[in-house]
Symmetry: C2
Subunit: 319 residues, 2 copies
């Protein structure tokens, strides 16, 4: 069943009582640095600190009590896991989260604080470990991105952006497996076809850039990146066609520029966001996305789960 704008609108009705409609901020102090009129959709201010709650909430609210009786399970670099742990706690069911051993402590601690179980493994092993756990426990696997109902939930970010600021002509979205950009681009192109939607992914994990060239999902080698939430090696097979149909371009952003984006957003924009969420700003700083002074550009700031100790890495970065 393909994802439609109606699915996204229904998702919004379903999840609205439980999420924050995050602010869309006009950040004039960043205009001179980025060469356009800068807006930020502050999903770092979402409950659980990231947009991931939207998809997980939508998916789980569509399931029956019986389906959920053995609990829920996910492989996650952190934010999807925290979202799942939050929904599980709200509904009084069990949750287990399989995380890469490279995930920052702030993310695993927050998941444990919500009462969920955390299982660490190597990044590339996380889906296999989660499948084994599923067989053992009977818990329902909640995919982090490769699912229509997850995408429908994430797409509500796009609906809100268009309502909060209809004059935007460009939206830039951080990309891992494609759940967020799949949903957001589907919503935006359905309601405002002339608005451009760009994706930004780490240069060391250029799965969408490569796959869009190839015309089909291509796997890239696992690499570590400072963008710890963007570690997918291959586009979600369900996400890919939506991204292919509804986006206007992709940027593969160098690690240094991801950190420049984070530092700029924090020091001049006064917003704390995790490195992954600042990759769109990094893409423009690196000159990878064409913007001009009159463009009204919204950066989706997808999450803010970063520990203070992680801010040390910004000290030597020059914007």
């Amino acid at each position: 069943m393909p994802l439609t704008i109606q699915d996204i609108q229904l998702a919004r009705t379903r999840i609205t009582p439980y999420i924050i409609q995050t602010p869309l901020l006009r950040l004039q102090n960043l205009d001179a640095y980025l060469g356009c009129k800068v807006y930020a959709k502050a999903e770092c201010m979402q409950v659980t600190g990231a947009y991931k709650l939207r998809g997980a909430m939508n998916k789980i609210l569509m399931m029956t009590e019986k389906e959920l009786s053995c609990g829920v399970l996910a492989a996650s670099s952190g934010n999807h896991g925290r979202a799942l742990a939050y929904v599980a706690k709200m509904l009084g069911i069990k949750a287990a989260i399989v995380m890469p051993d490279t995930s920052p402590e702030i993310k695993s601690n927050a998941i444990r604080a919500l009462g969920a179980e955390v299982v660490f493994c190597e990044t590339s092993e996380r889906f296999r470990v989660a499948e084994r756990l599923q067989k053992e426990t009977g818990a329902v696997m909640i995919p982090p991105f490769n699912d229509d109902n997850i995408m429908a939930g994430q797409g509500t970010v796009g609906l809100e952006i268009l309502e909060q600021c209809p004059q935007l002509n460009t939206v830039i979205v951080p990309v891992s497996g494609g759940g967020l950009i799949g949903g957001v681009s589907t919503a935006i192109k359905a309601l405002s076809p002339s608005t451009k939607v760009y994706g930004a992914e780490p240069a060391v994990l250029p799965k969408y850039s490569r796959s869009l060239e190839a015309g089909e999902p291509v796997t890239v080698p696992q690499q570590t990146t400072i963008a710890d939430a963007l570690v997918a090696q291959i586009p979600g097979k369900i996400c890919f066609p939506y991204v292919q149909a509804n986006t206007d371009g992709f940027a593969a952003v160098e690690e240094e520029y991801i950190l420049k984006g984070m530092k700029l957003l924090l020091t001049e924009g006064k917003l704390l966001a995790e490195p992954s969420s600042c990759i769109g700003i990094g893409a423009v700083l690196q000159g990878l996305i064409p913007v001009k002074e009159t463009d009204e550009v919204c950066f989706v700031i997808s999450g803010g789960n970063v520990g203070l100790e992680q801010l040390k890495m910004l000290e030597k970065i020059i914007v």
Copy 2:
């Protein structure tokens, strides 16, 4: 000539083309920590990083070219100086700023970057040094707070708060000499008399708490505080009667609670603000201002000029 709501409304017309109408953010993720519905007026996102631009802009835009021909001058702990330097650059006139030698580097550097001269001295000497400089150069002294036109400019924060969120029942304002709270409380009590206005000042410099008890401005001994923008030893004589007439209470906040407020705003609210600006949150955390779950409370986040190296002091703070 006493300050009226009309002066504040005129100030708004005068300065609106040159300042940002900063967002008033609903920060649900802080509600459980503070025991009320939390809002933040994000003046940390103002041009120059602090509300001070409003007062300085209003004051200088009321002066003649002739008056301004020898430039402008101020004694400032940093943010007023930066505001002045910004206005001076905009108008093509000279500016000199006398700063306490305890001011953070980020503040003096930003002032120099705008082309103004910086003169350092001991905190308690700053007004004397500025007077001497004024005699030598003929520059116009722009007071940081003790002035009706400065207060009128700062009061525009209050007008915006009421327009952006009319249902608020409490506003909490960081206090040094009283320019901000003098203007904000005058605006709020004129238009919404039932809204409560509280001031928050460092416990080590309790000049308003003492002066309100005494019924007249009282000088307290100079002390250093982590709230480097709140170092006034005595209420402004012009500000004091407005504060006396229009506020509902004062909190004298411990240093540790100022830092707890800053850490909470950054890690859970995702907003970067300087310590001084977080003193209202600290006041509620310390139990000094009575708020209840149904209260809609706006914290004026007065500025965001804090260096990343200063964030180290938050690492050992427990909220």
